[in-house]
């Protein structure tokens, strides 16, 4: 669990740096922001993966060795697919709701990084959603920390339920999209609920929007100002995909698709962005 605390701390620090870089004299430094986003990604992976304890950290490391197949296959065997579990995910309480979809997507994400022959559209969407959800979770977790609620114990029983749900989307590949949209709207609900919460949460969220804005502004020739979230999200997809030949072409299309979905569903985000 120390991993989680440490990873969360690093994520908060990173987001703070990205935010501060916007107001820095001399403009946004591309190099520094790139490095910070890499750290943010690593921390996010650990934060969302600590559920697997050592296994997933090994998985992250062995990406390069291409051994992940073995690990993920084993884990998939442990948790047979079940659609009913997925429904359970959506109808359960808000905090768990937030955590579980992320983990679900994170699991998929780890898989997809290795399976380059898999539908890259899928992985990009997942990663973008991961990104958004992780920012949600940062906002959420900070509130948790403040309120000192006991959310952690709840996660463990939900973990197994989550894992069971994991593998269903795996096999489906592109037919994946409907459940994803559904998950998107979950996040919207949780986002809205979060927004109505206390100010520290909101501040973090707004800071995140700014972070995204900063990330976007530094790509100085981009014209899709309205797709801030997508850009921030899919910049991670670019960072994550090692086999970048194939994903690239599809990333744009899926980025656009996801972007539209995102925009429809994440109105609170748009409001925050417009404010800045």
């Amino acid at each position: 669990m120390e991993y989680k605390v440490e990873a969360h701390r690093i994520m908060s620090i990173s987001l703070g740096k990205i935010y501060n870089s916007r107001v820095q004299r001399g403009g946004i430094k591309l190099h520094k922001n790139l490095l910070v986003s890499l750290v943010l990604r690593s921390a996010r992976q650990v934060y969302l993966s600590d559920y697997y304890s050592g296994a997933c950290l090994n998985a992250a490391q062995s990406e390069r060795e291409g051994n992940e197949w073995d690990i993920t296959d084993t884990e998939r065997e442990k948790f047979p697919p079940s659609t009913t579990e997925c429904d359970r995910v959506e109808s359960s309480e808000e905090p768990q709701q937030n955590e579980r979809p992320e983990k679900e997507r994170e699991y998929r994400e780890n898989d997809d990084e290795v399976k380059s022959d898999q539908a890259d559209c899928t992985s990009t969407l997942q990663q973008e959603q991961n990104q958004n959800s992780s920012l949600d979770s940062v906002a959420k977790v900070s509130s948790e920390t403040l309120q000192e609620t006991i959310k952690e114990p709840k996660e463990s029983p939900s973990d197994s339920a989550l894992a069971e749900c994991d593998s269903t989307p795996e096999a489906n590949g592109e037919s994946h999209q409907p459940p994803k949209t559904h998950v998107c709207s979950n996040r919207k609900r949780s986002a809205e609920e979060t927004e109505s919460g206390d100010s520290p949460k909101k501040k973090t969220k707004v800071a995140s929007s700014n972070a995204k804005e900063g990330e976007e502004a530094e790509e100085m020739d981009t014209s899709n100002v309205s797709n801030l979230i997508t850009i921030f999200g899919s910049s991670f997809s670019g960072l994550l995909s090692k086999d970048d030949v194939k994903p690239e072409s599809e990333a744009e299309d899926s980025g656009q698709l996801c972007c539209d979905q995102m925009l429809k569903n994440l109105n609170p985000w748009s409001t925050a962005i417009v404010a800045f």
Partner: protein, 448 residues
């Protein structure tokens, strides 16, 4: 004590200059941001955060005191860059001088290139010791004379005057970089130079300011796929068609301009595989190369990343020839260094004239030297408390664990606000210039 190798010879403080305090007013503009000797070592230029350039000149050796080498005194000071505002992007452009590079001397005047984030300027520094006197249309004060009062004509003559050193901007190379310029390098053909930003490298002719050629472009079609940026670039010291550039991923690419107009495809690719046992959140940051320098011979490359300096043989791409640990004790402190932004410090590295010793900076005003032949290394400190003129520098040691000896300093006591990023080594002698925030130190080896 051997004078050929600097090891075995102690370093003595030649001049400890209180840079900036005498010259500038504001505190923020004080920080020295670049240091560079010219090709003969006669001149030493420093650039600072306030856009100013100060050039020091070495005094001629005195016959009366042959043991006392020439000291460096201020030769010229000028404002190279001013803060600017990009109205289109609503961005302020910092006036901080990122790099200075000297041109080889071809006549009585000296030329240098200085750059901030966006604009490179060519400055001419020349001496004037005569002035024309006896104009017809204006008097000695410069006031215009009434033409009706002029009854005779005279020819103006040049009269001696006190030596004046003036700096004039001769060329301004602007509007070629979308991102921040991190390097400039003069080609050995003395006709061209290159300027490098995060994603592109442009080639210029020194005479032509309204056109530059893009020779490297790593900007992805979709910025969302950006994974690495260019961190430094340099021309080969002898081969005018060859240059290298380093990346934030820890790799170096060598390019040949004869191969194609756009050098996106490298001729050589230098990268060391990552050690998986050292993997952490910050692995990518600490592997980012902050400086790359060719050896004087042109046979080797030196790169600096956050914790090490590496020497590469141009003929071996798979791994470096030598790796030197600068401050490995920081490896366990990366998280704190990330928090306080120190992990982003871009340390530079330099070769000595014979390529046998390499030098780089660290924290607590420490700087390190590595002798490539004997494999010895030394840590020295640039601080006025510990240095008196002509006093010999004492080697320092950082205590990593266990019992701290009397003169050692523990890792936790290091002052991370005192960092030595910029250093320079005289091209042929054992004279070094070390910039410690807003102070410039010049050290030379002791003459027996």
């Amino acid at each position: 004590k051997n004078e050929i190798s600097p090891f075995g010879v102690d370093f003595e403080i030649l001049v400890s200059l209180v840079y900036i305090k005498a010259l500038l007013c504001s505190v923020a503009a004080d920080i020295i941001s670049t240091v560079e000797f010219n090709s003969t070592g006669e001149l030493l230029a420093t650039g600072d955060k306030g856009g100013r350039v100060v050039v020091f000149q070495r005094e001629q050796e005195s016959k009366n005191q042959p043991h006392r080498r020439g000291e460096y005194n201020v030769y010229s000071t000028f404002q190279s860059h001013e803060p600017e505002f990009d109205y289109l992007k609503s961005l302020e452009i910092e006036e901080k001088i990122n790099k200075i590079r000297w041109l080889p001397q071809q006549n009585a005047a000296y030329f240098l290139l200085s750059t901030n984030d966006k604009t490179v300027k060519l400055w001419k520094i020349s001496e004037r010791d005569k002035r024309p006197e006896g104009y017809n249309l204006k008097d000695e004060d410069g006031r215009i004379r009434d033409p009706t009062t002029i009854t005779t004509l005279r020819v103006p003559v040049l009269q001696p005057m006190d030596l004046m050193v003036e700096a004039t901007p001769r060329r301004v190379f602007s509007n070629a970089h979308t991102y921040h310029i991190n390097s400039i390098s003069v080609n050995s053909d003395y006709e061209t130079f290159m300027s490098t930003d995060d994603l592109r490298i442009n080639l210029w002719n020194l005479e032509i300011t309204n056109r530059s050629f893009n020779i490297v472009d790593i900007k992805p079609a979709n910025m969302e796929e950006l994974t690495e940026v260019i961190t430094a670039a340099e021309f080969h010291p002898h081969q005018c068609n060859t240059f290298v550039y380093s990346s934030s991923k820890g790799s170096i690419r060598l390019c040949d301009m004869r191969a194609s107009a756009l050098c996106d495809n490298h001729s050589k690719f230098f990268e060391e595989p990552e050690d998986p046992s050292n993997r952490s959140f910050f692995s990518e940051i600490i592997s980012s190369i902050s400086d790359v320098k060719f050896s004087h011979s042109g046979r080797y490359l030196m790169t600096r990343d956050y914790l090490t300096v590496k020497v590469w043989d141009l003929n071996m791409e798979s791994k470096p020839l030598e790796t030197y640990q600068v401050h490995d004790y920081l490896r366990s402190k990366l998280c704190s260094l990330y928090e306080n932004d120190c992990i982003f410090d871009k340390f530079e590295c330099v070769w000595n004239g014979s390529d046998s010793v390499i030098m780089t900076g660290s924290y607590n005003n420490f700087f390190r030297m590595f002798d490539r032949n004997t494999k010895r290394d030394v840590t020295l400190e640039a601080s006025r408390e510990n240095s008196k003129p002509r006093a010999i520098l004492k080697p320092r040691k950082v205590c990593v664990g266990g019992k701290r000896r009397k003169d050692e300093i523990s890792v936790d006591s290091l002052d991370f606000s005192k960092k030595i990023i910029h250093t320079a080594w005289h091209p042929s002698e054992n004279i070094i210039a070390v910039a410690a925030t807003n102070n410039l130190y010049i050290f030379q080896d002791k003459v027996n």
